[in-house]
Each structure stands twice: as structure tokens, then as C-alpha cells.
Symmetry: C3
Subunit: 472 residues, 3 copies
């Protein structure tokens, strides 16, 4: 009977295996996925760290239910001083925010001209290797970036960053997996032009990951040599096969790219003029080469809501930055002081990914079932998703709470539950009295007591008196 | 051997379990879902009823293959006289049709002004509780609705209804789950501002449902008190915790909201003027506050097809109501007499959800395989989906057959199989003779005998004579 | 113990079954499908052949990972001389390319007028069957098609083809399953107006296929008779029930459709004039009846890249053919000579389906992991998908290599890895030296040695000398 016995245990094992599998499928593999039946949200931290020579890339697990529901993935790039994030591109639209530091950024847009040249009269001279210093380079636009910059990147466009400051340059990026612009599956996929990723695409499920190499690595060296008209040895060098520096490398010596003077000084007209008249290809729109892709959200003079005692809120949508209409993402930057509260609100037409850049806050989030699915602290470096329709209230619990929200709509609309432009203000008194079974007097206070639109004090004696009239 | 025997039965059970699971997966869990391999359609009735104090909400099972294929869910709201459907919003775009009765409707669009005020000079006075009647309210637009009204609602926008008539107010709504405007999963999700739903979201699969509460319920009462600057007791009252009236409540006493005079009398210019100049926020387009969202499909003077002996057809697309371009839905209203037939047709670029408001009809539907997947009666209160490309013919079998069709395209195109603008008319005779192996004479009759475009008699002696020429 | 033994083998079988299933599910059934984790691509040939009386339809398996990832299906139509592909329509947008031969094409667009008439004064006369030859037909536009024509077709629009040449007419078509224009599931679905398909929709998984019949077959004959006002016998004839000719039938006798003179001679103005003023319905845009849907990609005078010694490349996007903006597809036609190379490139915002019309080439494709996922010959009649972001290089290995690429974006953007408008050209020298650890001299050669933009020689002595300056 030993045989029967082992057979039994074998079948039991089989049963367990099967049940485990079925349970997993029940959760994941349904026709009607219910990844948005979120009973609990969590402040999320990165699940994977990719270390490089001069920095690291921290990746959030995009299979986490709240990111899955939001249809995005998220990553943080920490580039050390003199670190160069080598050019790569993605299969998705990307919106990035510079959380710390400053640096340079370049993108290469297909068919656009190399408008940055060493001198106004471009005359490359090659009089032998000894005089190579005289060579004048030309390349596409290079921009200064600094804390607060919000950068839109379209799919397939290669981008690089260089930290020319002293402190680390920290950039966070959201990748829109659910958009029609991503024509692959719902996984983020970096394609490396240079560099590599020895750990492999650890965030991908379902296959064993090999080290990730650059694109040149995949071609035969003789193909590269023919295509670039270079010798085989240089072609092999482009494959980075013996390179273990990762995708953020340390620049040796000066980083002499052509760059404009810092903001405030740069002759913008000239530069854009050239872009507009540059050569084009592939049926691109006339303006794509000079389209503005960056805006700064830390400039207090452009805040949408500004209260000296409480803080400010700035939004960036496709009215401000038209390329956002194309990539269907937008952003909000907030900075509030201790005990300030962002009035409860919901996103009407977008999911929001909230990332804390400084300080900490107490946040409550309420789902469609009226359940509080999050009630806790979020602090610097953490992320939380606020799905479409879910209501959220934020109260700073540190000296200053600063965050950025990425939204999955080029013109995300906010509805507030309280305040001068709130949904309660728009409802007739009778709807409020009947809905909540309260007296007309109570309903009036509910409707009119809060005069602010967005920010208020979260403590101190509330004014329970008569409502004041808002100046419209 | 008893042990072996039980082991055998155990393994058999396992096998059955596994096969059952695999079969279910085969139907539901594939990468290439084939929810549109529909061999049979059914006239559907609601699967869930949510009872409230003054009405009920009837919900169709959106997991039914034909709704799943169409990417929508469907609900019917029955609001009794003096019933108030409390404000709620959805994660999807919604198109509603008033099937019976009349009432009032209000929406609260974020950032738009409270353009409805008690008097032209708004001066709220609060001279003590005794004189509270003198307080003048202000709120967003309130509209009269009546049978035939078709109402577009964008995601995240709160909406309420009040039945100020004597008979029940019946509204049917389609929710576009498959659109990019729904940023959550493919489930309909109401968010309640007031009221509740003691039965829970019974239409959702995959988790045990708890009673559904309003949004305020999810926040801490002290948060609500701080945000609204009200006392804790009123804040708790907003949570509706002791309320079991559901989401349709009975209004006690008069329902004194500010409303325009009934249609034909209302000074529309004035009202829109105000809306246009109201205050805005969140980067909304200048016109969103005054955008028309309602049109009546029962007005015979606007019918697209009108035959006194047969009936009429009215369509509502984004040319009529531009907001439909945004929500990507449109509607068709039909009303035909006994023995009238809607000529066989298919939807080129949309799925259609047909809901019967009155009477009954004999309907045949044909799928891509040339199979008749439906051949039966549909009668008042029933729904049937007609997927893209499927051909359908309708014949009234009661004195009058009236229906509404919701279509998943802002400009749904119909192709007819018969009649003056049909596909057969557009084909050369030679294609018809060769395709069907019929004589040129027969082909001519096939092409030209039916002169109507949409409606014809379904009985009586057909004219088998010579084709007549249509006046183009 | 025989029983135990058989039980064991039974359980083992079960285990194998289960594991097989689980493995398949692991690949297919996940919430996060990873159909784009492509470790290997293959040159694909048709998996199903549907034979007809006068031709055949060859269908590629759209479940193949690379097509699944690309969200499309693909078919080839081989229509013999005098063969008529009977009118059918699809649930998806379609882009077709005439690979060989010439013929006639007709589409029937709902609501558009029958602008093709036998004489300028249309007066049908029916003076008895004997004189039926005198009848003058009228129908919608008929177009000549020939090799190189690229034809856009919107969902739900019926289309027919007739081969009026001597050699077979070969048309290849891509169907965009992933677009929002397909409102059914991700399967291609032809709907037949005439003809049939005795083999059934063999490409569909998940149900047993029955023979596919035409739409009329699904209605009751009496319904057809009433709708078309014809006798029951003719109605039955329309059902093609005794017809086994398939969907491509042989035309007996002359095919006397009204057609314009061949290109170069046709009075286009007149024809379009009529279309513009034809009658319309269903709220269609004024221009849809006369919208151009066809362009020829074999005309060397419109090539985007033309090098007498190497070959040419022509693209067709929504700037050339505005209807492509609506169906979100575009095309590229290439023709290169032996040993010419298309410089390595990637599609920034589209998947590409490459189909070889003549000759053969050596192709290398590199995925996001830097792995070569294809390295082989593709030859006439084969297909290969190049997913978004994947880099590809093509070298002709026969006397002439000609292909067509269908792209899943109305304005697909190409980025090149080499050449005058390449990504390397747009990068600063410092990024290249640091990224690849090469000297400034090497970096300069990498950047500037190749002056061509798209096509170059794939053999012969490469010019390893000094870079030459491109005239911009």
C-alpha cells in the first residue's frame, strides 16, 4: 500500500497545486477583472532597485492592485552628481517630475534638426586626429532642468539626463500603460540605446529575466558596421557587452554638450526659430520639433491656488502644455503647511498617482462603497493611487507637505465635497435637507460655511456662525 | 481496497472540478475573449432590484454575454411621485432616457456657477431661525424632464432627479464601461453623495458585498466638520448611518427648488447668458457650464423618418447634441404601428442596446455566421443587445411598439439590407445576379422593388410587379 | 494492484493535462497578458485556406504571439481571372494592398447616392422580359484597382472585388482588432452579404465552427420577401443555401458594371461633383460619400526616398489620405535592390506588419531586452510583425526585395539608429563617448559617417574615413 499512499499524497499535491492556481486565476484571470474593487490602499514604496555606476532606478510594482487599477507604472531615478542617465525610450507616454536637484536633459525627436551647434557658422574641420579638439559638434536641443520641472515624453522618443549639480538629481516618472499610445501589452518596457541593466526587467512577470542589453547588442556587429560605416571593433564597442555600469554612468572629465544659458538669460526666440525651420521627415507636424514639453510647477507666480498661510496648488494641463493633449496625462503640484487641509475632493475623469516629495500628511481615501480604504500617513518618497471617483482629503502633519499628482487625463477635473465651488454648493437646499434629514438651517451651514475653494485650516475653532457670502 | 476506491473517487472529483474550471476558463478567462461568439441572444430583464423608500433601481446583469460583448451596463430607475433620487455620480459616461412621467433634474458640474437664484438680487439674510423662510437659496441649473428626454451625463458629475408628477417617473440608463472615459475596471460604480444602498453592489462579482454607504460615511466626522466648518453632530448626520431609506427618498412637504417655467415659457436666453459668464475653474472649457445635455426624442416634428401610417424614427447624435461627441454614445427612438416593419439593417460602427418602452415586437437578429441568434417577442421593459454588424429586423405585434436604442458611437451608422438607400441598391446588378445566381429580372426586383428607406408594411400583398423608380 | 496502477496512470494523465493547461493559461490567461514578451519571432505563413470556386482566402492565425501583440489579424485574397469576391463587411477597420494583378472594386457606403448610371439621363424601361437588356442600372462608385493600390475600408462597409485581368488578383489585408472601431471582441469577423464559407470561421477559437452562411440565410424567407417586396422563391434564392461556391465565384459571361475609363482618362471632377451633391442620411459628414479611400504606392514619382541604385520607400499616412486618421492605420511600401540595406530603425508609436510581395531579404529584429528575436530570411508571401519599439534592419538577398508594411497608427513615426536623421546624430558627442566608452574620434564616426537617411549599401568597402557633411 506504500504505492497507494504515495499516490494519494501525489494527488493531494496535485489538488493543492491546482487550487492554488485556480485561486490565482480567480483573482487575476477573469474576463471582468475587478482590480478596482479596492478595499484597502497602501502607501507604496519601490519594489525593485536597479543599481548603476552613478545612481539607481527604483521601480514600483505595477501589479499592485491600485496601480493596476490606475493603468500606470511608476519609477524613480536617482542620478548622482556627474551621473549620466543614458538615452533610452519607452513603449508608453511618460510624464516626469524633477523632485530634487538640477541637470541637463536631451531628447532626440525623429526627423528634427540638430539645432544646437558649436558656433553660428557650422564648419566641421577634420585635419587629423591631433586636432580633434577643434571639431564642432551639433545635436538636438538640450534643456536645463531643475526641481519642479514637469516633462512630457512621447513613446519611442529617446531621452537622456545629466546631473550637473552637486546634490543627487531625483526624477519620478509615471508611464501610461493603459493608453492607446502603448501598443504593446500592459507592461513598461525601456529600450536602451546605450548602457544595460544587468538585473534584467525584474518587474515583468511570467518569464525568467536575463540581463537587459542595449539595442546594438541585438544586431550582428557586421550589420552595425555596415549601417554606421564604421569598423567592426567600434561596432562591437557599441554593444556594451563588457560594460557593467548599468544605465546611469559616471562622466569622466567635463561634460561639454552645447547648452543654452540658464533660464532668464536664454535667447529663446532664436532657438525656436531654428527649430521651426529645421528639416522634417515622416509626415510629422510642422511644430513637433519645437513643441514645448516642459513646464515648471514650483513657480509660485503661476499657482492656481495660493494662500500665504496655507500653501499653494499648481496644475498643468493641456491648456498650459498642449503636448499633454497628445499624451493624455496631466499633473498637479501641491505644497501645504502644517495643519492645512486640502478640502475633500474626487477626480471626475482620471486616476491620480500621488507621490510625496517632502514632508508627510494624513490622508483619508473613500471608495465607491463609502468605505475608508486608506487612513494613514504618507511620507516623502511614498506613493498612493487615488482611483477615479474615490474621494480624498489631505492634511499636512509635518512643517511642510509637498507632493505631485500625475493624472491619467489631459484635463483632469476635480470635484470638491466642501467649499465655495463644491458639489454641495451646487445642490438645492431641499436636496440637502431631504438627503441628509437635516434642518434648513443645518443645510445652509453645510452649503455656505466654507468659503475657501481648495485649502483650509485643518484645526482651530471652526466658525460655526452664520454663513458669509462669497464674492463670485 | 476501500482506500484505493476512495482515492479513485477523490481523483475523479478532482478531475471534474478541474474540467469544470477549465471549461469556465475556456469561456471567460482567455486572452482572446470570445464574448461576441453569440449563438443565442435573449430578451433580458433586470437581475437585481434595489428597493428604496420612494422607488426602486433595477439593474441588468452586465456579465450577460450580450452586454459583456457590447461593453455596457444598464439600469432602470423607478421614482415614485414625490420621490427624490439623491445625487450620485458614476465612473462612466451615461446616457439616459425618460421612459415615463415627468420631473426635475439637477447636475452639479465642478467649477460652474450657481446660476439659479431666488431673486435677481441675491441677498441672503439670516436674522434668526424664526425667519429662516426668508433665506434665498442659490444652486446650479435645474431642468424639467419629461417622457422622451434623452440626457447625457459625463463621468464623475453628480446628478439628482425629483418626480414632481403623479405617475412614476421611469428613467433607463446605459453606462459605457468599455470607453476610455471609464478609467476603472469594467464594472459600473455609483458613488453616493447622500443616501445609501443597504443591499450593496450586488451586481459586482468577486467579493462579498457590504451595504453601500455615502461618501461622507467614509471620512472621519471630525474631518467633515473641519472641511464644512460645521459641528460634529451635523457632520455625523451627513453620514446617513441611521438612514435606511436607500437612494430614492420621499420628500416631505413642498420641494421648493428654484426652477424655470415649463418649456415653451422659459426665458432660455437669460439663463444661458448667466451660465456663459459664470465663474470657472480647473481649466474647463468656457462652454461646459452651459453645454446642452438634453434633447427630446418624442417630438414628432424632429423625426428623421415619419410615415403617418407606419410610425417614426428619431435619432440623436453628436450633430444634434455636441456633448455626445465627448461621451461617444448616441440614441435612436422608434415608434411603429401594428404590422409595420423596420427594414433589416445592421450597425456599422456601434453596438446597440434596444429597450422596449411600450408594446411588443417580433425581432429577428442574425450574427456573423449567418445564424438567427434571436427570433422572438420583446415586450415592454425588456432589453436586447444588437452587436456591431449583426442584422436585425423588427415587426410590431402590438398596437404600437415603441423603443429606444442606445448606441456605443457618437455617430452610429446604419446600413440597410432593403430599401431605397440599402446596400443592395448600391451594388451593380451583375454582383447580385452572380452572387445569388438569380436572373437579371429577379435582381432588378431585389434591388428596386422596395422604395422605402426604413419603414414598410410587414404584411398585405407585396407588390411583385415591376420596380418603380424612386425620386432621388 | 492493476486498479491502483491504472489509477496512477490516470492521475498522471490528469497531471499532464492540468500542467499543459496551466502552462497555456500562464501564457494566455493573465490579467497582465505578456503577449509582447517575445523571445522569438517567426516569418509566418497562412494557417487556414478557404477555397472558393474562383479563388481562395488565406488566413493567418491571429493568435500567433506576434500578431496578438500587434492587435491585428491578416488575410490574403487570391481571386482568379473572372473571379468575383462577393460583398462582405467586417467588424474592424481594414487596410488592403493590391499585391498583384488588377480589377474592379466597389464599396457601398450607407446613405450615399448611386452615382454610377448607365446614361446621363436615367430612364429605366421595362417593356417585358425580352427586352431586359435595355434596362439601365445604377449603383455606387466602382473603381479600377491595380498593383500597388492601398485601400482603406471602415467597419461595417460592404466591399466587393472583381478580377478583370488575366493573372490572379492578389490582395492582402490587415484588420485592426485592437482599435476602438472594433466594438466586438478581438476576433476578425466577416459578414457575408452573398456567398458563404463552407469551412466556417476556422480561425476562431473556443467554439465548434459551422459553415458560415450569408446574412439573408439567417432571416426567415417571408421576412426577406416582405422587406424586399419579392416572391418567396427569390427570397430563398438570396439565402444561397444550395450554393457551395464559397465567397469568390466565377462570373459567367460579361461583367457589365458601369465603370469609369482607366486612370489618366477618367473625368474625375464630374464624378466627384455628383458624389458631393448626392443624397445623404444618418448624419454622415457631407464629404464621406466622396472621400478618397485609395492611393497607389507603386508610383515612383511619389516616393519619399528614391535612390536609383538602391530602391525606394513610399509612405501613406493621414496627411496623404485623410480617412486614415479615422481608421488609425497607415502603410509603407518598399522596394530595394540586391545588397541594399534599410538602415536599422524602430517604430516609435506603432506596430508594423511586414508582408513580402516579391523577392527575399535577410532581416534582424531586436526586442526591448536587446535580444535578437529574429535573424533570418523572409520571402515572398511571408509576414512578420515588428512590434512598437523593436528595432529592425533589412537587407535584400534577391535581385529585388519588395514589401508592404501596415502600421497601427495613422501617422507612424520611424526612428533610425543610423544615418543623417538618426538618433545618434541627435545625441551630443559626450553622451556617445560616455555611453559606449569610445573616443571622441570614434564617436564622431559613429555619428557622422553615414550620410544617407534610410537606404544604404549593405556590402562593399565601407568608407571608414572622415565624416562628410550632409547638405541639410
Amino acid at each position: 500500500m506504500a504505492r497507494v499512499s504515495s499516490l494519494l499524497s501525489f494527488c493531494l499535491t496535485l489538488l493543492i497545486l491546482f487550487h492554488g492556481y485556480a485561486a490565482q486565476q480567480g483573482q487575476q484571470g477573469q474576463q471582468f477583472p475587478n482590480e478596482c474593487q479596492l478595499d484597502q490602499l497602501n502607501a507604496l514604496e519601490p519594489s525593485h532597485v536597479l543599481k548603476s555606476e552613478a545612481g539607481r532606478i527604483e521601480v514600483w510594482d505595477h501589479h499592485a492592485p491600485q496601480l493596476r487599477c490606475s493603468g500606470v507604472s511608476f519609477a524613480r531615478y536617482i542620478i548622482e552628481s556627474k551621473g549620466l542617465y543614458l538615452p533610452s525610450f519607452f513603449n508608453t507616454a511618460k510624464l516626469s517630475f524633477v523632485a530634487k536637484g538640477r541637470g541637463l536633459m536631451g531628447k532626440v525627436i525623429p526627423g528634427c534638426a540638430e539645432t544646437f551647434q558649436d558656433s553660428s557658422e557650422f564648419q566641421p574641420r577634420f585635419e587629423g586626429q591631433g586636432q580633434s579638439q577643434r571639431f564642432r559638434d551639433m545635436h538636438q536641443k538640450v534643456e536645463h532642468i531643475r526641481s519642479g520641472d514637469t516633462i512630457a515624453t512621447t513613446p519611442g522618443v529617446a531621452q537622456w539626463f545629466y546631473n550637473d549639480g552637486q546634490q543627487p538629481l531625483v526624477i519620478v516618472s509615471v508611464f501610461d500603460l493603459a493608453s492607446h499610445q502603448n501598443q504593446l501589452d500592459r507592461n513598461p518596457r525601456p529600450f536602451y540605446l546605450a548602457g544595460n541593466n544587468p538585473q534584467g526587467q525584474v518587474w515583468l512577470q511570467g518569464r525568467e529575466q536575463q540581463p537587459q542589453k542595449n539595442i546594438f547588442n541585438g544586431f550582428g556587429p557586421e550589420v552595425i558596421a555596415q549601417a554606421l560605416k564604421i569598423d567592426l571593433q567600434t561596432a562591437q564597442q557599441l554593444q556594451n557587452q563588457d560594460d557593467n555600469r548599468g544605465n546611469i554612468v559616471r562622466v569622466q572629465g567635463p561634460f561639454g554638450v552645447i547648452r543654452p544659458p540658464l533660464r532668464g538669460q536664454r535667447p529663446q526666440e532664436e532657438e525656436e526659430e531654428e527649430g521651426r525651420h529645421g528639416r522634417h521627415g515622416n509626415g510629422l507636424e510642422e511644430t513637433i520639433c519645437s513643441a514645448r514639453c516642459t513646464d515648471n510647477l514650483d513657480d509660485p507666480s503661476r499657482a492656481d491656488v495660493y494662500k500665504p498661510q496655507l500653501g499653494y496648488i499648481s496644475t498643468l494641463n493641456s491648456y498650459d502644455l498642449p503636448i499633454l493633449r497628445f499624451i493624455r496625462l496631466s499633473a498637479l503640484r501641491g505644497s501645504i503647511r502644517q495643519n492645512a487641509m486640502v478640502l475633500p475632493q474626487w477626480n471626475a475623469n482620471a486616476n491620480a498617482i500621488l507621490y510625496v516629495t517632502d514632508g508627510e500628511a494624513q490622508i483619508q481615501i473613500v471608495n465607491d462603497n463609502g468605505n475608508r480604504v486608506f487612513d494613514g500617513q504618507v511620507s516623502q518618497g511614498q506613493l498612493i493611487a487615488v482611483p477615479q471617483g474615490f474621494s480624498v482629503v489631505k492634511r499636512a502633519t509635518s512643517n511642510r507637505f509637498q507632493w505631485v499628482e500625475f493624472k491619467t487625463n489631459a484635463n483632469a477635473q476635480i470635484n470638491t465635497l466642501a467649499g465655495r465651488t463644491s458639489v454641495l454648493r451646487g445642490l438645492p437646499l431641499e436636496v440637502i435637507t431631504n438627503g441628509f434629514q437635516i434642518s434648513p438651517e443645518e443645510a445652509r451651514r453645510v452649503k455656505f460655511n466654507t468659503l475657501e475653494t481648495t485649502l483650509t485650516h485643518s484645526s482651530g475653532p471652526a466658525s460655526y456662525g452664520m454663513p458669509r457670502v462669497a464674492a463670485a
